[in-house]
Each structure stands twice: as structure tokens, then as C-alpha cells.
Symmetry: C2
Subunit: 421 residues, 2 copies
């Protein structure tokens, strides 16, 4: 984690190199910028043995996270469980299934804590005192929480009408929360203007190249937990389309550094909701570019990005790795949130229902190999999207505190609630 | 974790020894039973070096958890962050402050996952196929989640009127959730009858001796994270009064086994809400026994146990260690939930507000030493108790997506929300 490991920011279209600054696009062709590393230098200290001695959080992979000094924000993020999901595997008829559970990430219960830890640590290095984000909900809570812990002022912009848990989950930390009349794409455009106008550090605007790298830590953890191998198949939800690309990049980086047992042959599968499916639509139609969705309409609000910044790269990656993409209905989302909870005890937010629903469809269609290993990426917590469930779950039966009433209830059968699988 | 390490269950009053079965009280004097270990045998494999090689979850301390074989339930529980809370410490004028954050515990976001992991692993060993609990909310979610993952049938009994997040957070997993017209003490009595009538494994009734031991893992983690030393002072919330005792026991066990740098001089401080303060009242009045609270009335529903099973032991321990206890108002609870979130980025449930509010009062009164180390135990997540906050937090300002409207807002000042500290 010394400054020399990161050599700069590189345009993903033309390859032009820029210095490590708050900049997210190439001034020649407007291509997105990505962090470039000196892998030879990284390899000198980034060994399995060295990693094994470090605390189990995302910073054990610090040489491949673009912070020059010691991280100052989000030092306890990551290290979430990878669960062998045998009960669900049996039901789905697959051999080797895992759930990566970022629904219990510290501090704000989503994978966004990973990207925010990097972005805000970098923001501190770059001298920003005010930070912000455009968010569909999880990022709002993560920026608010991590900024509070770091003593940074935070502006959090969200589309109007988000779930209560996501709104309270940002205001509780003292962030300045502003709701925008419009959808995420309106919010995002406004944030670009604000970042430019005020010179603030917006994690997913001008700090985006650093921010996006944080997602790699989810992939590093998966590979290490699997005994330093890349899984055969990964299913990840897609909003802006960044996560799925960074997961794959994380496996390739470990391979480049000689840390994996065997080559990376991971097929990447992307999951969306039918009410906002710009990326899965691109994959399925083989279109040459991503057609934005004007009016996203789905209970998976955290995935409701109609014009995804990394949509094209995601669709390209999915096809190149031999993966595929699908999108599912709101009903399927609810059913699969319940199925995940009932079989593996993991209560994911709506995006988790999307991921499982898409995985099941692709298994049924033979696009996901039943004999290969499969990792489902769970990115947020069900407590944040209670609205999606409240009318679908049985309400508790109420009895008086007597054994007789309980016995009568057992006799009649307490409503059993296995979701229609 | 071989069967020989646990020698049996021992009455805390008369010392009579019982076999390792689903039994929670002495048939001679009705004293509570506690798990007894052969510490000499434990010491043979339970060394700092051995522990360091194990995964970072509660089972790295497996020799001191009463499961005979490999744990089968809750294998990923624990390993939650211990956070150095310097921003809050500065505000409180103390030297060394930590937050143990079980609000991000896998799978159900509370310390109850620890006790349930032990109780249900033991339930499987004892051959139970149906399990249950009496709960104020967190235990409900934990039993439901962990039982689902293990394929056990679960009956969850709760008092009527719990927070939505806690009710949904049990039904989502497919548990049979029954609400009881009455308070927790009514629920608890009914569960004793049910466990006896049906022969089911109720985690906090007939499996209670095993269950309670799970809390020790929180203390083991604190001590290991502090470099194998017991903290000078611990502040823990009290409901049934079990956690605070097990935290202290965990330090003493590590000392017995020679694993600590220095003796255990930890002062234990217990936190309650004024609307349900049977234990703090006992400590403060020096009464010879705990006087139950008939009608608990507090927003800290997870602590609303009027007749705490381990209340007397908790009050005795607090006095013997030189600690103290206090209780606080609902307003103070809300203020301190906000303060914790705004300074350290940790959104705790109402019980966390209780813990911080009590800690601050005892620091002000000089009962907690400002120069000694202090650990605050955060036991549950704020997303589960949104009702307590929803009317106390500013709602987001709504603007149209234009830079002009944002500029006008910044000019006027977005509602700043630092809680009255």
C-alpha cells in the first residue's frame, strides 16, 4: 500500500494515462478511467503468506486497492461470510453452491461499504472535506455512515420515493440527505454538476475510478475462501454494471500474480429486474450498445439505474466469458427472497431475490452448469426493503398466554410459509 | 471440541452436577444450571497459537463452547468488529473507547446469533427436530434464521406489538411466529409449558445452559482483539441479565487458562431503560433480591424483560466487580442512538442508545474512569427499530433535478442534524 503501486488512471478506450486525481473520464474521448497498477511491484509483498497474517477485512488485499497510505475510512469493512449453501443446492439440483453474504457488511449492511471505504480513504488523501454520492439507497447509507465515522461532511442525493429503511439509514448518520424529483439518472446527472460546481468529492462521480476498485475485495475474498481458486460461475446483480466487472478483474489479478490454483475460467452471469433491464437486454439481443430504460419500474429499487455507466463493459464481459444475463418479475423477486431465507437463513434485500431468481432460471435453461461451482453475490440486507415483503408474508397469529390456546393453534396448524418454490 | 471437555451441568446455587441434557434448573433447589468444563483438558489444545490459525468466527473458541462434536448450526457467526471509537471518545472526554459491533453479526444482525448457534448445534446433537424460543425480537430472528439454515422446524413466540422489522425478520425465514397478548414474562412462562408439553428444544428454556454460554464468544473476541487483555470497563445492556455475566466469565476463563496479559480487573456496568429497570434498580438500592417490573414500558423493547432470569446474578456481579448500573429515559435513548451514528457511523437499535446513554451518565458521575479502557457492547441493529426514530429525524428536502434548486438549498442550509449531545 505504498504510493508507487498505483501508477495512475488509464482510459479504458484509448489507454491514455492520467495522474491519480479526482477525475473519471478521458478528456480526449470521454472514456471511463480505471486505476493502473505496477503488478511487479505489487507481487513483491502481496503473497498468500503475507495475506494470511492480516486481519480478515477488505484491507488484507491492500496492495490492489488504490489508497496510497494507510486506509483511514472503513478500516473494518469486508471479511463477510462465504456460505456453502447445501440446502438450497439440493433444491436447485446443483453440486456446489455458495452465497457471499455482504448483507452483513460493516457498517451499513451492503457491498457498498467496500467501494466507499476506498473512495473516502482516497478523498481524505486528496484533501476533500465534503463528500457526496448519487444513490439508489445502499450507497446513501454507506457514504453517510463512513463519512460520519471519518468526520467528513456528506451530501447524499437520492431519487424521491426510496424505502424508509434506506432514507432513515442515511439521515441517522447526520448526512445532508436531498431527495430529487426524478429517477436515479436525474440524480446522477445533477451530482456531476454539483461535483464540478463545488469541487466536492463525489464517490461515484469524480472519485469513481478509486471507488469502483473497492468491489474487487469481494472477489478476492471469494477466491481466498475457496482455497485460492476462482469459481466456475458467478451470479451478480447489476445496477450500474460495475460490480460484475470488478469481480472478474479480481480473479484475473490474482491469476496474474500467480496466487491461484489453476486458471480463471469463470463465467459471469448478470441479474436484473425486468422493470429495469438495460444490460440484460443488451446481452440477450446482442445489441451493439446499451439502450437506456427511461422509466425504471421495479421493487428492486437498488438496481433501478436506467442508463448504467458500465453497462456496455458488463454486457461485453458476460458474453466474452461465456456467461449470460436474465431479468425477472417483481413476483419472482419476492418468491426468491423468501426461498433464500427459508433454505439458508439469509434475508437479502430485493436485489438478492433478483440474483437467486435469475440463477434458477439460468440453471433451468442449462446456461449455468449444474456440476460447476456457483457463487451467488448477495449485496444488501432485507431489513432495508421491508416494503417489498410486508403484504406477502403471513402476519403472526395472536393468542392469549395459555397452553390451551397454543395447543389449539398447533392442532389447527400455524400458517406454514414455504414460498412457492 | 471433543465431548470430554464439558463435564456436565452444575447448579449455580448448590453445585450439584447433572448430565449434559436439555435441563435448565436444579431439581433440588430450582437453581439455574451452568455448563462445567474440564479446564485442564481444555488447556491442552486451547492456546493462542492454535486459535490464531482458525477462521475468525465464534468457533475459534470452540473448546469453551458446549458442543460436543463439530458445530452444525451458525458456523459463520461472530468475528464482528471491535472499533476504536476516537471521535466519540473525544466528545466524551475519555482516553480509550471501543465499540463491539454485533449489529452486523451474521446472519440476523444481533448478538443472539451467538447463543442460538450454540443452542441449536446442541439441539441437533440431542436429537431435537423442533425448536423454539420466547423472544423480545432479536432472538426471534436469530432462531428463525439459524433454524431455517439447519432445516429445523421453529416456533417463535413474541409479545404482541413488536417492531415490524423484528416480526418480518422472523416470518421471512418460514418460522411459525405466534404473538402473545401480554408482555415478555407471559411469553416466557408459556414457553416453559410448551417445552415441557411437547418435548421441543426451546433455546432459552430447556436449552438455556448451553445457549447462555454462546455469549462468552463476544468476550473472547474483545479480549483477543485487545491483544489478549481484558478491558478495564465494559458497558453492556441488560434484558434477562445473562450477557453481562457471560462476558465477565469469558475473561475469567481466559485468565484461568493463562491466555491473558495481566489479571482480570474488569468492572462491569449494566444498562437498562427506566421503563424496565429491575436489575439497575437492584444495584442502585442494594436490595437483597430483584423486584420484577410488572408493566415494562420503553421503546427499548428488546430489553423489556420485567422478571429477568439472571437478574440477581447480574446485580451481584456488577457490585462485586466495582461496577455500577443506571437506567435512562426514552428521549435519552433516541439522542444517543443518533450520537453513536453521527460520531462513529454505527446505527444500533434502541438497546445501543441505552448502552451509550448509561455510559455517558456514569462517566459524568465519575463511576466510569475516564483514563481506563472502556468497551461498549452494541448488541443489535438500528434497522430493526426504525419506529423509535422515524418521528425524530428530519425528512429529506425534495428538490427538482436542477443545479439552481440545489444551490438555493445549500444557500439556505440543508437541515443539519447533529443530535443534542
Amino acid at each position: 500500500m505504498s504510493g508507487e503501486l498505483v501508477t495512475g488512471l488509464k482510459c479504458r478506450l484509448c489507454g491514455k494515462l492520467y495522474p491519480k486525481e479526482a477525475l473519471n473520464f478521458c478528456t480526449d474521448d470521454f472514456g471511463p478511467l480505471e486505476v493502473a497498477y505496477d503488478y511487479e511491484a505489487v507481487g513483491r509483498t502481496f503473497t498468500r503468506e503475507a495475506i494470511a497474517t492480516r486481519p480478515r477485512n477488505m484491507w488484507r488485499y491492500r496492495e490492489l486497492l488504490p489508497v496510497d497510505g494507510e486506509p483511514t475510512v472503513g478500516r473494518h469493512v469486508g471479511g463477510t461470510p462465504l456460505i456453502r449453501a447445501d440446502r438450497l443446492a439440493k433444491l436447485l439440483g446443483v453440486a456446489e453452491l455458495y452465497i457471499k453474504n455482504d448483507a452483513v457488511n460493516h457498517p451499513s449492511l451492503s457491498f457498498k461499504d467496500r467501494v466507499v471505504a476506498v473512495a473516502l480513504s482516497k478523498a481524505v488523501e486528496l484533501g476533500f472535506e465534503t463528500v457526496g454520492c448519487a444513490s439508489t439507497g445502499n450507497l446513501a447509507g454507506s457514504v453517510a455512515a463512513n463519512a460520519a465515522a471519518a468526520g467528513l461532511e456528506a451530501y447524499v442525493l437520492i431519487p424521491e420515493g426510496l424505502e424508509q429503511g434506506k432514507v432513515l439509514g442515511a439521515t441517522i448518520y447526520g448526512a445532508k440527505v436531498v431527495a430529487v424529483r426524478g429517477n436515479y439518472d436525474h440524480v446522477n446527472r445533477l451530482c456531476s454538476q454539483i461535483a464540478f460546481r463545488y469541487g466536492w468529492g463525489f464517490v461515484n462521480v469524480n472519485l469513481r475510478p478509486f471507488y469502483a476498485e473497492g468491489s474487487k475485495s469481494m472477489g478476492f475474498e471469494i477466491a481466498e475462501e475457496l482455497g485460492w481458486r476462482a469459481p466456475d460461475q458467478v451470479v451478480a446483480p447489476m445496477a450500474g454494471g460495475s460490480l460484475i466487472g470488478k469481480l472478474h478483474k479480481s480473479f484475473l489479478e490474482l491469476e496474474t500474480l500467480g496466487l491461484l490454483n489453476g486458471p480463471v475460467r469463470t463465467k459471469m452471469f448478470g441479474a436484473q429486474a425486468t422493470g429495469c433491464n438495460p444490460i440484460s437486454n443488451t446481452v440477450k439481443t446482442g445489441a451493439g450498445k446499451v439502450k437506456p430504460v427511461r422509466n425504471p419500474e421495479t421493487i428492486a429499487k437498488s438496481l433501478a439505474i436506467g442508463d448504467p455507466a458500465d453497462g456496455w463493459f458488463a454486457s461485453k464481459l458476460i458474453r466474452e466469458t461465456g456467461g449470460w444475463s436474465e431479468d425477472v418479475s417483481d413476483d419472482a423477486i419476492v418468491d426468491n427472497m423468501r426461498l433464500l431465507a427459508e433454505t439458508e437463513g439469509v434475508w437479502a434485500e430485493t436485489a438478492g431475490g433478483v440474483t437467486l431468481a435469475v440463477a434458477r432460471r439460468l440453471i433451468d435453461e442449462g446456461k449455468i452448469d449444474r456440476d460447476g461451482s456457483i457463487v451467488l453475490c448477495i449485496t444488501g440486507n432485507g431489513l432495508k426493503t421491508q416494503e417489498a415483503l410486508v403484504d406477502h408474508l403471513p402476519r403472526p397469529v395472536v393468542i392469549r398466554p395459555t397452553l390451551e390456546e397454543f395447543e389449539a393453534l398447533v392442532e389447527a396448524g400455524v400458517p406454514a410459509v414455504l414460498a412457492s418454490a
